[in-house]
Point group: C2
Chain length 212, copies 2
DNA sequence: AAATATAGTTAACAGTGTTAATATTAAAAA
DNA sequence: TTTTTAATATTAACACTGTTAACTATATTT
C-alpha cells in the first residue's frame, strides 16, 4: 500500500509543520501570544484544521515541551566528557543555568508552567515521560558517582539530588522572573555590576565542596 | 469639606470592594478565570467602572500580590519568638513552605508569575516595593545571626541567603507545578507514601548543619 | 459510476481585556 | 434657585481568544 504510506507521511508532515510554526511563534512571542489562528495563518491552513492534528492548544504546547527536553538532553551530552564526578556535577549546573538563560520560554514551558504537566496527567495515561526523567536520572547518577568519590557520603542520593535540582531551579526561576535583578538593584549593600546568579551559583559550589 | 471627604471615602471603599471581589475569585478559580467582567458582576457594577479605579488587570493583580506579601509577613511574625538563630532559620523555611502549600495561588502571583513584577517595573517608578524586601531582609538578618552563632562563617551573607531562598523557592515551585509528585510516582526506588518535599527539606537542614 | 471515508472549510459560540462615546448624577458658580 | 461644570458610571464596540458543529470538496473503495 504505497499510496496509504504516502498519505500517512503527508499527514505526519503537516503535523510537524504545525509544530514548527508553533515553535517559531512561541519562541518569538511566548505562550499566550501563540494563538491557534496565528499558527494556522503561518502554515496557510484554516484554524480548525489544526484540531485534526492536535487535540487542543495544550497538546501542541506539550509537544514543544518535549522538544525542549530533547534540546536540554543534547546540551547535557557534553557532560559525558567530564569524567571527574564533582566536576561533572558543577558543569551540569552551568549547562542547566545556561539553558534556562538562553531558552527562557522553553524553560518556562518545561519547568514553570502547569499546562504541559497537566496535559500529561489528563491525556498520557501510559506514562511515557522519558525525556524529563532522563535528565533527572543523569543527576542522580552523577550524585552517586560523587558519593563514590567521597563527596556527600552521609546523604541520601535522591534527597541530595532533589536539593540540587531545587536550588538550580529556584535560582533560574528567580532570575527569569526578575526577582534576582530586582534584589541586585535595591540592595545597595551589593557592589554594582555584580552577576548575582553567577555569584549565588559559585557560593553553592563552595557549599558543596565543604560537604566532602 | 465634609462632603468631599465622604466622597473620597466612598471611592476608596469601592476600590477595596473591587479588590475583595477580585481576591475571592482569584483564590477560588486562579488568575486567568478572574475576569474583569466577573469581578464587575460580583460588585454589581459595569465592567468599565473597574477601569476608573485600577489601570488594568495587572494593576489589580499587583494589589493582590501586595496583599500576599502582607500575609506572608504576618506568618513570619511568629519567628520573632524563636531566639536561637539556626532554629529560627529552620522555622522560617517551614513557614515559607507552609505558606506556599496553603496559598498556592498567592505564591504563584508573588514569586512565579511575571505580570506583577513587570507592573512594578512599568508603573511604580518610585520603587515602593517594601513588603517583599522586608521578607528577604528578615532572611539576611537571620543568616547574619547564624554566622554570629558560628554557622556558615566562611560564606558571604547575601550569597548564602540567596542560596537558601533559591532552594526553598525551587522546592516550592517543583511541588506546586507537580514535578515533585511526578518524580515520587515514577521513581520506584522511593518508598511509597513518602513526603518528598519534607524529605528534601530535612535533607537541606542536615546539609546546613554540616556547614557549622 | 455510486457510496464512503478523509481532509479541510466556514460560521458560530462564548468568552477575554480594553477603549471611545454617551448618559447620569452630584457639586459649584452664576 | 437655576445654570454650568466636573465626576462617575454605563452602553456599545473593537479586536482578539480557544473550541465545536455543520458543511463541502476531494480522493479512495466498493
Amino acid at each position: 500500500m504505497g499510496i496509504k504510506e504516502r498519505k500517512e507521511k503527508h499527514k505526519e508532515d503537516l503535523r510537524q509543520r504545525i509544530l514548527d510554526a508553533a515553535k517559531e511563534l512561541f519562541l518569538k512571542d511566548g505562550y499566550d501570544a501563540t494563538s491557534i489562528r496565528k499558527i494556522a495563518e503561518k502554515i496557510e491552513f484554516s484554524p480548525t484544521t489544526i484540531y485534526l492534528y492536535y487535540k487542543d492548544k495544550t497538546d501542541i504546547m506539550y509537544a514543544l515541551h518535549q522538544e525542549g527536553f530533547k534540546l536540554l538532553g543534547t546540551q547535557f551530552l557534553v557532560l559525558q566528557h567530564v569524567h571527574e564526578p564533582f566536576e561533572r556535577l558543577k558543569a551540569m549546573g552551568r549547562v542547566y543555568m545556561s539553558f534556562a538563560l538562553s531558552n527562557p520560554d522553553f524553560y518556562e514551558l518545561m519547568f514553570i508552567m502547569k499546562e504541559p504537566i497537566e496535559f500529561v496527567k489528563n491525556h498520557c495515561h501510559d506514562e511515557e515521560w522519558e525525556e524529563g526523567e532522563q535528565a533527572f536520572t543523569a543527576l542522580i547518577n552523577t550524585v552517586e558517582h560523587c558519593k563514590a568519590a567521597g563527596y556527600f557520603v552521609q546523604f541520601d542520593t535522591t534527597t541530595f539530588a532533589l536539593n540540587i535540582w531545587s536550588l538550580m531551579h529556584g535560582l533560574c526561576g528567580l532570575k527569569l522572573q526578575g526577582h534576582l535583578d530586582h534584589m541586585a538593584s535595591t540592595k545597595i549593600s551589593l557592589p554594582d555590576n555584580v552577576n548575582l546568579m553567577e555569584q549565588t551559583f559559585d557560593g553553592f559550589i563552595s557549599m558543596l565542596e565543604k560537604l566532602k
